[in-house]
Structures are given as C-alpha cells and as structure tokens.
C-alpha cells in the first residue's frame, strides 16, 4: 500500500491547526508555514503523477483488507484520474497561496485565512482520493464550508450576500447528495464504490436507479454550477478575494462537482442512454447560455465567472458524448477520445482560469476598481500583468499554440467523428463568441488609451503576485504539450482507461 495516500489529507489538516495555534503567538508564522506545506503537497503530487501512470494503488485505512472479495473498510484509491486532479489542486493551490502573500495584507485576520485555505485543500484532496461514498461526502462538506467562510472573508455587503446565496444553494445540494447516498445504501447495503457496482448488476429496479441518478446529478450539478443550477456562481466568484476566486473557479467546482459526477457515473452506475443524453444537453446549454450571459458584463470578475460556466459546459458536453457512445456500445475509440478531450479541458481550464482571476486581482489591487469602463492603457504601466493576461485570453479562446486550442480541437474532432455535427457547430460558435468577449476585455483593460481622466500612479504589482502569474502562464504553455502522443499516453490515457473500462476499477479495489 502506498504510504503517500493518507499524507495528502493529514498534512494540510495538521498545517491548518498549527497555523491557528502558533499564528496567534508568532507574527507572520502562518504565512510562511502554509507556503511550505502546500509546496510539499505539490511536489508529492507531481511525484505521484510520474509514478502512478501504470500502477495505480489502493490504501485500506486501518488495515482492513477485503474479506472474501467484499471490502469491509474505508479505502482510498489513487489511479490515473485521481492523480491528474491532485496535480491541479495542489499546484494551483500553491500558486494561489503564494499570490496571497501580498494580496491578503490589507485584511486583518491573516491566520484564519491561511488556516481555512489549508482546510479547503485538505477537503479537496480527500474528495479526489476517496473510494468510499460517505467519505467523499464528508470531505466535500469540509472543503465547501471552508469555501463559504473564505467567500465572505472581507466582510462587506456584497460578499456577505454572495456567501449567503452560496450557503443556501450549497446546503440544498448537500441534502440531495445525502438523499442519493441513503437510497443507494438501502438497495445495496454497502458504501464502497466498486462493491456497489457489483451489487447493482444483480437488481433490475430501473425507475429507482434513474431516480437516484437524477438526485446525484442535481446535487453535484449544483456544486459544479451547470445550467440550470448556476445562480450562485457569478455572485460568489466575483465577491471573493482574488486568490480564492482562482481556487474556487479553478479547482473547487471541478474537484467537488465535475470530478465526483464523472467518477460516479462511469465507475458506479451502468451507463444509461437517457441520462447520457440529458447530461449532454445540460452541457450544451451551459456552454451557450454561459457565454451569452458573459458578453454584456462590464465587471471583470463577473465576466470571468460566467465564462467558467461556459467552459464547464464544454467538459460536461464532451464527457456526455463519451457516455452516449459507450451506452450505445459502439465506436469505443471515439468514446475514449471524447472523454480524454473532456479531462484535458478540465486541466487546461484550471490553469488559464486561475491565471485570469489572478490577473483580475492584480488589476483590482493597483486600481481599486473592477469596472471595465474605468480602466485603460495598462499595457505600459503593468507589463507582467498585461503579458500574462494576453496569454490566458488567447488560451481560453482556443488560439494555437496555447493549451485551450488543443483541448477544444480534441472535443470538436470527437464530436464530428461520432456524428454529432450540431454539437460541433455549437462548440465552434461558442469558441468564437468567447474570443470576442476576451478581445473586449483586453481592449478595454490594457490597450485603450484613456484621455481626459486624471493620471493615477499605476505601478506593477509586488513580486509574489508577479511570480505566481508568470509561473501559471508557463504552465499554460507547458500543458499544450499534453496533446502529443508520447506524453498523452503517460498521463491522459490511464485516466480515461480507468473510467471507461468496466472491470479495471473493480480489480484495483477488490483485488480478485
């Protein structure tokens, strides 16, 4: 058993509480300690990504091995898909924590911020490493409650209202998920994901399973903010402090929403065609409605939040297409291509959306405003922010050679090869409108020349913020290498294999 697996959860949990205790005695302690902890987690996740590709591992907590092929304890699973998510969570987490070294200085209670940040990271690590259904729920709640507190961190009117909306809708989602877990337990008397799939093969109560799948879809759809469950996202992501917006939009809606949805629908339930068509429709609607709502925005962070809904629609659309193809039982290679495109877009979106939110934070830090109509001409006075924001905008619009182009290309090719021409047309249309929206952002923020207004002294932001933005933009360039066949086989193909192959996950966990 791989000893690194429980450390991913134990280390940030310890770090959060040591921050709280020693941070009130030693000034400036929690700042440095959090950086060290999350850097350690990031390097552990890169090491795991390099070694786990072909041999995934399981950890039975407390040493309870399976008895006669029935898992009796809680197990934590690290396979290809998990290690991809771990890399995103910890690397984006480290860059956000480093960025917040200088951003958070204007708030008063820094210790609480860093402790909550570590708790959120611990919760998300626990969700992606989970092999047991209720364990996933508990860690989901840990990370989401920390997110509620972090959204309301600077306690002004807007942030409290946004946090309240987020809390009510998030609690509703948790109740749906809990209801789904209760109904699954009623039928199968077990909570282990691989074991539930075995037990579900025996029964044939079709309407019951469709009801449970719909409950799970509603619950995790609310957490992942796909249409029609998106009402909390623009308020919450625009009112939070900027490194937290980058974590929320870049990682939390993926780890707590889309990851669990993909894991449960591929590894727990038998893929049903009507549910797959429903998921694809929701993805397509998210894509289109998100981008149309985003065009008319003048507040930069609200614009970026609406674009998050649209890009998540791409991921859900692609995964849904893969599910439709698998449930019809034909064209297995195209299904794998669709799912691989979806996962690749997931990774890319974390990189460029995190970078865009960090840029918006830098602009807000120097100018104090988020309205596009009041900015202009920042290209000369903030060169690093301007260059990295240009790279991120080109990535999200799908311009080669940045990473957004390759993932959108894979999704569109998979759609055309499978015969869904209308979906491919929608994907291209949404990409063009995204490009228009980001050209507007670039023009008004950086390239416009402001005449007649008073000149404010605008300098570049401090070093930690510049460092995070530059490293993340390098990540945008490096991730485009993931499309080439050699590297793709090492990283993306194990992830899609363990999702789409019906017996691999069961063999991994139960070990027969």
């Amino acid at each position: 058993m791989n000893p690194l697996i429980p450390l991913f959860v134990a280390i940030p949990l310890t770090g959060a509480f040591i921050d709280m205790i020693l941070g009130s005695f030693i000034k400036g302690f929690s700042r440095c300690f959090t950086q060290v902890i999350i850097l350690a987690l990031a390097s552990m996740s890169i090491y795991s990504a390099a070694t786990t590709g072909t041999n995934p591992s399981v950890y039975y907590v407390g040493g309870w091995e399976p008895v006669n092929g029935i898992p009796v304890g809680i197990c934590m699973v690290m396979d290809g898909f998990t290690v991809l998510m771990l890399c995103i969570i910890n690397i984006v987490g480290f860059l956000s924590a480093f960025y917040s070294l200088s951003y958070i200085k204007r708030f008063t209670s820094e210790n609480f911020y860093y402790a909550l940040f570590c708790l959120m990271t611990a919760g998300m690590n626990g969700v992606v490493l989970g092999g047991d259904l209720f364990n996933i729920f508990v860690f989901l709640e840990i990370s989401v409650i920390s997110a509620y507190a972090l959204v309301a961190f600077g306690v002004e009117k807007n942030e409290l209202e946004a946090s309240f909306k987020y809390q009510v809708l998030g609690s509703l989602a948790s109740f749906f998920i809990l209801a789904g877990i209760a109904l699954i337990y009623w039928k199968t008397k077990t909570l282990n994901i691989a074991d539930i799939r075995e037990m579900l093969k025996a029964g044939h109560d079709r309407p019951f399973y469709i009801f449970v799948e719909l409950l799970i879809l509603c619950g995790f759809g609310l957490k992942a903010a796909i249409i029609p469950f998106h009402a909390w996202l623009p308020d919450a992501h625009s009112s939070a402090p900027s490194p937290i917006s980058a974590m929320l939009s870049g990682v939390l809606i993926k780890a707590a929403g889309i990851y669990v949805m993909i894991r449960l629908f591929f590894n727990l339930f038998e893929i049903n065609e009507s549910i797959a068509v429903l998921i694809t429709t929701l993805g397509a609607l998210s894509m289109v409605i998100g981008v149309f709502l985003a065009i008319g925005q003048w507040d930069i962070k609200r614009l970026l939040a609406y674009h998050s809904i649209s890009q998540m629609g791409y991921v859900v659309l692609s995964v849904g297409m893969g599910m439709i193809l698998i449930s019809r039982g034909l064209k297995h290679e195209i299904a794998m291509l669709a799912v691989a495109g979806g996962l690749y877009h997931l990774v890319n979106h974390a990189a460029f959306k995190g970078l865009l939110f960090l840029n918006a934070g830098a602009i807000e830090y120097t100018l104090g405003t988020r309205d596009l109509k009041e900015m202009g001409g920042l290209r000369k006075s903030m060169p690093a922010t301007s260059a990295t924001s240009f790279i991120a905008s080109m990535s999200i619009s799908g311009i080669p050679p940045f990473n957004g182009f390759f993932s959108k290309l894979i999704i569109i090719i998979a759609a055309v090869m499978a015969g869904f021409y209308f979906l491919a047309f929608l994907a291209i249309l949404v990409s063009i409108i995204t490009l228009a929206s980001f050209l507007k952002f670039q023009r008004y923020a950086f390239f416009n020349r402001k005449e007649g207004k008073e000149e404010r002294v605008v300098k570049e932001v401090p070093f930690p913020m510049v460092f995070s933005m530059v490293v993340m933009s390098l990540l945008c360039l490096i991730l485009s290498l993931l499309a080439f066949p050699g590297i793709r086989d090492a990283i993306l193909t194990p992830a899609t294999d363990i999702l789409t192959d019906p017996v691999k996950y069961k063999d991994l966990v139960i070990g027969l």
Binding site: I145, E156, F164, L191
Partner: protein, 112 residues
C-alpha cells in the same frame, strides 16, 4: 412504507419554507428541517425486522441486530449539519449588522 413517505413530506415542507419565507432566520430554520428529514430517512433504512439495539453481549445468545452503520452515518451528518447551521447563523448576524434588516427582499445589492 408510510414512514418513508412521511420523511419525504417533511423534506418538502422544509423546501417550501426555504422558497417562500422572507425572514432570514426562517430560511435557516427551514434548512434545518430539511436536514432532519434526511437523518430520519437514514435511521429508517437501517431497520431489520425483529432486530434489537446493536450492542453486542459476548456471553448471551446471538440475536438479530439492527444495522449499526446508518446510525454512525447519522451521527457524522448531525455534526456536519451543526457546522453548516453555525456558519449560516454567523453570516445572518453579520448581514443584519450591514443591512439593518432581516428581510430578504431588501438584500439585493448584486444584480446582473
């Protein structure tokens, strides 16, 4: 079977409260009511016919026990519900300080 339907009706009653009430505290209480219906559902699921409380007596004869796992799940879920309600209450009390009212129709600063 009627017990499960009653749980569902309790859930719907809580949902009605969340949607239609205007006072912030009443929304929080309705969320708690929804939560309790979930706990009831969990506790009902573990019942086996003719079972007794799952406390093992090693000397006596073997009996049919009720399933103890949902009881542990309910304990954990109660603590999670406590944390969620505490967070909600803290947000509500700060909202009252900023806006001066508990009415949710007055709190619409963020639009679009």
């Amino acid at each position: 079977m009627t017990a499960y339907i009653l749980c569902f009706i309790l859930f719907l009653a809580g949902l009605y409260g969340v949607i239609t009430r205007r006072n912030l505290i009443k929304i929080a209480i309705s969320l708690s009511v929804m939560e309790f219906s979930m706990f009831l559902l969990f506790a009902l699921i573990g019942y086996t016919d003719g079972g007794v409380a799952p406390i093992v007596d090693p000397t006596g004869p073997a009996k049919v026990y009720v399933d103890p796992l949902p009881q542990a799940l309910v304990l954990t879920a109660i603590v999670i519900g406590l944390a969620t309600t505490a967070m909600l209450m803290a947000t509500i009390i700060r909202l009252y300080r900023k806006y001066g009212t508990f009415d949710i129709r007055e709190i619409k600063n963020l639009k679009g």
